[in-house]
């Protein structure tokens, strides 16, 4: 039994309409005979069959549109027919059967449960917004759930999001015009480009403006170009390192001058965390392994959520809590220098995501590809000097933040546990905090929280 299928009649044909059968059931057909008329987007064509035999069954009614390859009829008992290459083998109905539906008509996917049209009927928490709008909202840190959509049926529109974003940032200043180089340099120098006065056309911020704005002694313009000569690749890098040094110098001097620091320290038992980490890493593909730093950062972020007095900024003689926990991560750069870009919403990231975000952030910090919100958005900073082998960090706060958390190396120490002396991995966690914003009691609540959180690594 052979099938007569909807033929491919041209390079652009995907489906065709059966207009007319030129033969009926029981008719004898010969290879090459026209047996049907098919209409395509371009024309109506008589199509031939490639088998000799009896038309046993017409499967498709005239007027039906089917994809190329759909069986239209069965031709049987054939003489010496070989099946067409790759023609799907089919059972052979030798007596009349109910007209079959074609095997694979492109039927639409099952309808999703219909969404009620009336906003009132919408389930709580549901926000009607398109992907563009969602993307925009995410970018501008607007919670769609808090918006009243002005579009049809209460749909949240792009304008709604833009208004909300503008309202949140106060007067809603237009986005600063900053050249890509200036933006990159600002990231490297720890300068918020939005605060730099631009001298370019329409107040565009150029690299030179950022250099001038970088904190540091008198912030001189970069050395004037020497006499034209073969450009040296080394010079700009040295420039950059020197400028960064000046920026760090300025920032840290300000911190030590303006911030009355207090320091707290505690020793955290890392046995549970280390065991859990080993077990996790043993089970995971190598690309998904975690470093102890990931656990420490997550604990620091969760603790900051518990103790919001340490998560935010001191400016104009008062404390403003940060919106979300954005963990500044101190990253030392090759060839010297330091940046502390923000791991945004670190308290909400599951460990694997946090680990990936950390890798990504460090890579981009070292290649000068940080985003603006990362450069200036940190609400509390963590310095993990464990890699360098030190035990205790006595940190300096990054103004205008009010706290800096330090971790040393995870190291084995003799420890009294349940009255017995044992060897346990421990880490020294320290807190440097701004006494203007908080007192020691708050700080000690924070460190205690860190220590507690690290005892339940599976909940981090």
């Amino acid at each position: 039994m052979a099938e007569f299928t909807m033929p491919s009649l041209g390079a652009d044909m995907d489906e065709g309409t059966l207009v007319e059968w030129l033969v009926g059931p029981g008719d004898l057909v010969r290879r090459g005979d026209p047996v049907a008329v098919v209409e395509t987007a371009k024309s109506t064509i008589e199509v031939e069959c490639f088998d000799t035999g009896t038309m046993t069954k017409l499967l498709v009614e005239p007027g039906t549109t089917v994809p190329v390859g759909t069986p239209l009829a069965l031709i049987g008992p054939a003489g010496e027919r070989r099946p067409a290459p790759h023609a799907p083998e089919k059972g052979e109905p030798s007596e009349p059967v109910e007209p079959r539906t074609p095997p694979e008509p492109p039927s639409p996917p099952p309808e999703p449960a219909p969404v009620p049209a009336s906003p009132a009927a919408r389930p709580p928490g549901h926000v009607d917004a398109g992907p563009l709008v969602r993307h925009l909202a995410e970018q501008s840190d607007v919670d769609l759930g808090t918006l009243h959509g002005s579009g049809p049926g209460g749909r949240v529109t792009r304008t709604d999001v833009e208004h909300a974003a503008a309202a949140r940032t106060g007067a809603g200043p237009p986005r600063a015009r900053v050249t890509p180089l200036a933006r990159r340099l600002a990231a490297e120098l720890g300068v918020d480009p939005a605060t730099v006065r631009g001298t370019g056309r329409q107040s565009a911020v150029h690299a030179s403006d950022v250099r001038r704005a970088a904190p540091g002694p008198s912030a001189p313009a970069p050395p004037a170009s020497a006499a034209p000569g073969p450009p040296s690749a080394a010079r700009p890098a040295e420039d950059r390192a020197a400028a960064m040094r000046r920026a760090i110098a300025g920032l840290m001097s300000r911190a030590n001058r303006d911030i009355p620091h207090y320091h707290l320290s505690t020793t955290v038992d890392m046995a549970a965390a280390t065991d859990w980490l080993h077990e996790h890493n043993r089970r995971s593909p190598i690309g998904e392994r975690l470093l102890p730093a990931a656990l420490l950062l997550k604990a620091a972020a969760l603790a900051a959520r518990e103790v919001p007095e340490l998560n935010g900024f001191w400016a104009d003689d008062h404390f403003t809590a940060g919106e979300g926990v954005h963990l500044g991560v101190a990253v030392s750069l090759r060839g010297g220098g330091l940046v502390a870009p923000a791991l945004r919403h670190a308290d909400t990231l599951a460990l694997p995501r946090l680990m990936n975000a950390l890798k990504d952030l460090v890579t981009r910090a070292r290649t000068g590809r940080l985003r603006g919100s990362e450069v200036s958005g940190a609400t509390i900073t963590v310095t993990d000097l464990g890699d360098q082998g030190v035990e205790t960090v006595f940190g300096v706060i990054h103004p205008p933040q009010v706290a800096l958390v330090g971790f040393g190396r995870v190291t084995d120490r003799p420890c009294a546990v349940d009255g017995l002396l044992g060897v346990r991995p421990v880490v020294t966690a320290t807190l440097s905090a701004d006494h203007r914003a908080t007192d020691g009691a708050v700080g000690s609540r924070y460190l205690t929280a860190v220590a507690r959180l690290l005892q339940k690594p599976e909940h981090l």
Binding site: P180, L181, R201, P228
Partner: protein, 332 residues
């Protein structure tokens, strides 16, 4: 020997340098022959092939009928059969009559045949305006050809390149188009002795600088260099890059220059819309975005068929002053 054809002393013109390259090619390889309209008895529309017919005879310096499609296609066929033809098309505007052969055959046969049929053909043609030749002899269409995969597109802008680019072009197994800007033929100067093989893959920094990159080629190179001189007196150090090869573009030289100067002006005599200048700007945006301290500027021809009247033609073309102004826009 014509004026200035001497060896190492005295001035040589671009035209003579090109002729010397043709002579050398015809002498050194008997597979090489030159054909085109009036390349023989007339001596070439722009005098480039003057004297070659007498030296090499009518088989190898071959006058053709005014049938661009037929003789360009014949060049392709001869290349397939083992020859190394140099086909001259009088001007780039006329090359459009042969565009079918250049695109549908020369650029395509290698791929379409699954690698069986490389086309070692060289096509030379004149491009550009500046000589009051009006709207059918003045356009800069090399960017159209640079759009086509399978072609190599050259724009010799200096005496050295006029003299030395032909040999590697003939050695290339694939079709090479050489665009000679009409305003350059009379350019003259001392031709330095060759310093080793000439490569067709790299752009050249014709003048180093630190404040801005002027990216250009062909007939616009002298204008860019003049602009750089003028800018230097105002304390702006412009680096001038001569692309030399318009396809494939030397991305590395452009990116490394912009990484140093942080600003770029593209100078291209073609029209701005959908042009090589557009391609260069896009690549700078793609590759060098974080190095840019100002938007990329373009200096191109006005979007008008090039007019005859001198004042209008000058106004339509990029001039040194336009380049200087663009640099100031980028630097200020």
């Amino acid at each position: 020997m014509g004026a200035g054809g001497g060896k190492g002393t005295g001035a040589t013109t671009y035209r003579e340098a090109m002729r010397e390259a043709l002579r050398e090619a015809l002498r050194s390889d008997d597979r090489v022959f030159l054909m085109g309209e009036d390349v023989g008895r007339y001596g070439g529309c722009f005098g480039v092939s003057l004297g070659l017919l007498e030296e090499f005879g009518p088989e190898r310096v071959r006058d053709t009928p005014l049938s661009e499609s037929a003789f360009v296609g014949a060049g392709i066929g001869a290349a397939l059969a083992g020859m190394r033809p140099i086909v001259e098309i009088m001007t780039v505007n006329f090359s459009l009559l042969a565009l079918d052969q250049i695109l549908n055959n020369a650029a395509t046969l290698l791929h379409m045949s699954g690698g069986q049929l490389p086309v070692p053909l060289v096509i030379r043609t004149t491009t550009g305006a500046g000589r009051q030749l009006a709207a059918q002899h003045s356009h800069s269409l090399e960017g159209w050809y640079a759009h086509i995969p399978g072609l190599r597109v050259l724009a010799p802008a200096t005496l050295e390149d006029a003299r030395h680019m032909l040999a590697p072009a003939l050695a290339d197994p694939d079709p090479v188009l050489i665009f000679e800007h009409g305003s350059l033929y009379n350019a003259s100067g001392e031709l330095p002795p060759p310093t080793g093989p000439v490569d067709l893959d790299h752009a050249a920094v014709r003048r180093p600088g630190t404040d801005i990159s002027l990216i250009t080629y062909g007939g616009s190179l002298p204008k860019a260099l003049a602009a750089a001189d003028e800018l230097a007196s105002g304390g702006i150090s412009a680096e001038v890059i001569d692309l030399r090869t318009l396809r494939p573009l030397d991305q590395a030289v452009i990116a490394s220059s912009v990484a140093r100067t942080h600003r770029a002006v593209v100078v291209d005599e073609a029209w701005r819309t959908g042009s090589l200048a557009a391609e260069l700007s896009a690549r700078i945006a793609e590759e060098s975005f974080y190095d840019l301290d100002a938007p990329v500027e373009r200096v191109c021809s006005a979007e008008v068929p090039i007019p005859y009247a001198r004042r209008l033609e000058e106004a339509a073309l990029p001039q040194t002053a336009d380049v200087v102004a663009a640099v100031h826009r980028a630097v200020d």
